[in-house]
């Protein structure tokens, strides 16, 4: 084993460090990961199970927990598809064409990423709140946005706004538009080109964008906290429910609900890893194809039923 390592070290002489430097760096990096990533994750499950499985499941069976789960699912089910359509559309416009103000538009798309979630919540309060622009009109028509479900959905949409677009823009820019242009020249319509040429090329990046958006949508705290009003059983999402339980010193219950969100995070990471691995495999498979520039002219009709 050590002989093998030494051989490798010789073969790559000059482009790697001496073994003790390598091992020190690896050890420090792993310690960092252990302290800052593994411990917090492990603590969630340990604290949740501190009083055994009975207390754990009892906390999850609470009706308030259920209504929080329901609201979280509703918010994500609306926010993710909305941002999916936007993300694909923005990536198509930005990656496939040249136009004036493109970089400014990209900056604007990124903006929600750097706006504090609290500021995001506040601006919806100013638009839809009782004293806001549409407040009187909404009140007159007996509609509620702030301290109600629509506000929570809006805040969720805002904080997860850029993720899919950010994932797709560099991917689509790197791929260029040769394949799409070939498809169009061969007579495909715009939609056919998108479904049969673009989508297969971006599907793994798109999948990652969607699951990341979903994880952030279900886990958003700051923005939702401002617009929700914290009405138990009505406008509490899972993260807000965690906060209430925690502030009431119901530690086991808080961590039990939190463990659901931690599981969601783990599933998200798992899907992401699988998607990356599959994308790599496909790239390798494409590189192994005989022609020098494989798949240069994909024929839309040859890609399965239309």
């Amino acid at each position: 084993m050590s002989a093998n390592l030494q051989n490798k070290a010789k073969a790559r002489a000059g482009t790697t460090e001496s073994p003790w430097v390598r091992y020190t760096l690896i050890t420090v990096a792993l310690l960092f990961v252990l302290l800052f990533l593994v411990l917090p994750l492990a603590a969630v499950f340990t604290e949740a199970l501190r009083k055994g499985f009975g207390a754990y499941f009892a906390a999850l069976k609470e009706p308030d927990a259920w209504s929080a789960i329901e609201l979280t699912l509703i918010a994500a089910a609306i926010a993710v598809p909305l941002n999916l359509v936007f993300g694909v559309s923005a990536a198509w416009a930005i990656a496939k064409y040249e136009f004036r103000g493109k970089s400014f538009l990209t900056t604007l798309v990124d903006l929600p990423f750097s706006v504090s979630p609290v500021v995001a919540g506040l601006m919806y309060v100013l638009v839809f709140g009782a004293q806001g622009w549409f407040g009187p009109w909404l009140a007159a028509n007996d509609l509620k946005v702030i301290f109600a479900v629509p506000g929570i959905v809006l805040a969720t949409v805002f904080v997860t706004f850029p993720f899919i677009a950010r994932e797709l823009i560099p991917l689509m820019q790197a791929q260029g538009s040769d394949e799409e242009q070939a498809a169009i020249v061969l007579g495909a319509t715009g939609w056919q080109t998108f479904w049969h040429v673009t989508l297969p090329n971006i599907k793994w990046g798109l999948l990652y964008g969607v699951i990341l958006t979903n994880a952030r949508a279900m886990g958003e705290f700051g923005a939702v906290s401002v617009v929700s009003g914290h009405i138990r059983g009505q406008t509490n999402t899972l993260p807000l429910h965690v906060e209430i339980l925690y502030n009431e010193y119901q530690s086991v219950a808080a961590f039990a609900v939190a463990s659901l969100l931690a599981l969601l995070a783990l599933v998200t990471l798992l899907i992401k890893s699988v998607a990356e691995w599959r994308a790599e495999q496909e790239q390798k498979a494409a590189a192994d194809l005989p022609p020098e520039r494989p798949l240069l002219v994909p024929s839309p009709s040859g890609r399965g039923p239309g």
Partner: protein
């Protein structure tokens, strides 16, 4: 269906002059929808924020954003964010380096775990870090007897922000390191450079734009962070109260104008940081293109 006909329109209009560029349909549709959605979700609500500040006189605005309690919160927010981003700059580079250059067992799992702070809800991270660092927690119980208190102090804020910003530097530096040409390093070695010289003179200049981009992103994210921090900070006015919490506090007292004034200050800073990040990314693209 109407969308399909719309998307076909630019195709018909395209033919002669810039056929190679404009042959793809859908420009009007996708750009139009992008601008529409952007306006509804982002631009119009943001403008509400700006209009609300105009309801204040200049003196009122200045008083609202520079009272001692607010100033203390800026110091904490920016200081802790800067410290956390610097920490992530060093350890993010280390982690990216180890993940790209070395082989070790469990590497795939570590690589996947790096994204945990993106995927784990901030409130969960907040209560979990607090549980670890509190006096009876896994780490807190050993630090407390030594007189080191992390939970419910500004140091706790820094730790939460390190967690939040951890993936940025790793994920911006990793691809650049992967693409770096080993030939340059081999050439430098054959010319007699030591490993350290190669790192500072060959590798570091190549990855500097990516490093700074990751640093700026971690910093920007940390400034706005709320969920993970409020659990661990203790939230004492003047000591461990972050700026987003000031906004919440003013909102709870129905001081909408005051909350908005502080929010506008934060917004301007976010926007400046975003422009800096974009500039850094452009530099990175040029840098990546140059040596090839």
């Amino acid at each position: 269906m109407t969308a399909a006909t719309l998307s076909a329109a630019p195709l018909a209009a395209a033919p002669v002059r810039r056929a190679s560029k404009k042959v793809l349909p859908g420009f009007g549709l996708t750009l139009g929808y992008t601008l529409f959605y952007l306006s509804i979700i982002v631009l119009i609500p943001l403008s509400a924020l700006l209009f609300k500040t105009f309801s204040l006189t200049w003196e009122q605005f200045v008083t609202a954003v520079s009272s001692p309690r607010v100033m203390a919160s800026y110091r904490l927010t920016f200081g802790a964010s800067l410290f956390a981003a610097l920490f992530n700059l060093v350890f993010g580079l280390l982690l990216a380096w180890v993940l790209v250059r070395y082989k070790f067992p469990g590497k795939k799992i570590v690589d996947a775990l790096v994204d945990l702070p993106f995927a784990l809800p901030t409130a969960v991270a907040g209560i979990s870090l607090t549980a670890i660092l509190a006096g009876n927690g896994w780490i807190g119980q050993y630090l407390e007897p030594l007189g080191i208190k992390l939970a419910f102090t500004p140091a706790g804020v820094v730790i939460a922000l390190i967690f939040i910003g951890l993936p940025f530097v790793v994920r911006t530096v990793q691809p650049v390191l992967e693409d770096a040409e080993k030939e340059l390093e081999e050439a430098a070695t054959s010319l007699g450079a030591t490993r350290l010289q190669i790192f500072t003179r060959v590798i570091l200049p190549h990855i500097t734009p990516a490093l700074l981009t990751g640093f700026a992103m971690a910093f920007a994210r940390a400034i706005g962070e709320y969920g993970s921090v409020i659990f661990i900070a203790g939230n004492m006015p003047m000591i461990s109260e972050i700026t987003p919490l000031i906004i919440i506090g003013k909102l709870e007292q129905y001081d909408y104008a005051g909350a908005t004034a502080v929010a506008v200050v934060m917004l301007v800073i976010s926007f400046v940081l975003l422009l800096v990040i974009n500039g850094l990314q452009a530099w990175q693209r040029r840098n990546a293109g140059a040596p090839a």
